[in-house]
Symmetry: C2
Subunit: 218 residues, 2 copies
Amino acid sequence: MNTKDRILQAALRQFNAIGTGQATVRSIAAEAGISHGNLCYHYKNTDELIEALYLQLAGRVAPYAQMAFSEGISLEGVFGQAWQTFGLLYQYRFLLIDFVQITRRLERMKQNFQQLMDVRRQQFLYGFKQLEEQGEMKPEPLPGHYELLITNLLIVGNNWISEAEVQFGDKGDAVVAHYHRAMMALFVPYLTPKGLRAYQALTADDGAYGGKADKPLR
Amino acid sequence: MNTKDRILQAALRQFNAIGTGQATVRSIAAEAGISHGNLCYHYKNTDELIEALYLQLAGRVAPYAQMAFSEGISLEGVFGQAWQTFGLLYQYRFLLIDFVQITRRLERMKQNFQQLMDVRRQQFLYGFKQLEEQGEMKPEPLPGHYELLITNLLIVGNNWISEAEVQFGDKGDAVVAHYHRAMMALFVPYLTPKGLRAYQALTADDGAYGGKADKPLR
DNA sequence: TTAATTTTAGAACAAATGTACTATATTTGA
DNA sequence: TCAAATATAGTACATTTGTTCTAAAATTAA
């Protein structure tokens, strides 16, 4: 593997373990097994590493984000897309945990993210419409209600990892399953009987996303 | 005002403005108009300042937390308690924004917070039962569903400020109203017709928590 | 009043860190 | 093959920061 990749890998491990504020060019270079002079030759400073990893993650999430709310999406599709995305986000969890601090310095990342959230909002709205047409989701109970629901979905989607870090520490897959299950539950009261049957099948003990989520985490 | 209080005030302002990672004993002392030697005489380091402010916040939130889910609570009571708490959290927003980084160093705070979340969870469950008895809330649609809902409520309650910081920056009251409105909407699909009427009265343009939330924030 | 205590400012120092620079070593391409 | 380029290790330096120490100033209490 080439040096740039080894650096990124070491940076990712260390950012996740101790946060972007504690990791330095020297500590990351040590983890990668190279000199810090060499690291700075490839990446001027830690901010460049953060940005590179952000772009890496964005590139890996994009396919799922596209797929998620394409035409004819079903509740099962939403589950699957969220599951894949949750897994990826967890691999790059330092980005979500340190996001505010990072975007205070990297204005470009902040604006990129704001645009991304606007797109997500549209995708959610469109996805809801699709699910309604599939007969899995009901129309919104009050005017403008789905806008508010989406606000909550975005908060949960962006911050479950911070919550997990404080509540459970570094428990890997079990944590991902736990919060995926929780977020998906936000759909329940808006589902039609048909949608609810799909939900119950997916979350059943022998379903694709059931059972394993409920082991005690602490 | 005595020196200790002036220090805490300066620290709070600076933590909120630039984060706990950027503020130093020297910068805070400068903001308070004293020497850093003097600051260290009162508080050994920034961690002691963080802990002092955390305790200050905990003391100010406690009354609302108690009141929130006492016997015979109504939806209106829930709205009011959340409103008060949201306002207080916003004043100490650095704590929520930097919480993961902080608790990595201050194990005691982390454990205190974990216990607090356990209590909150019980309070929510009890509160739901109260609202059901008042005839404002329906029983859970699926077994264990309210546990999952509470997980989401806690994530939103603890992280709306981080989301606000990235999305809107420092917009004060308007931001608080915006996210309060969003979080309260999570109750909607579980409300009885009676509960829904209460909700609509509270969020009406001329209601206690209506209107003002919907000015554009960006 | 005056001695003890508390508070304050500032200096001093070591450790850490970002940044730049230098000198080899390695790889590439003609 | 061999010159040009790229990559690497290590050094050097200025800054920042936490921490400790000293001495002066202010306050307190007898």
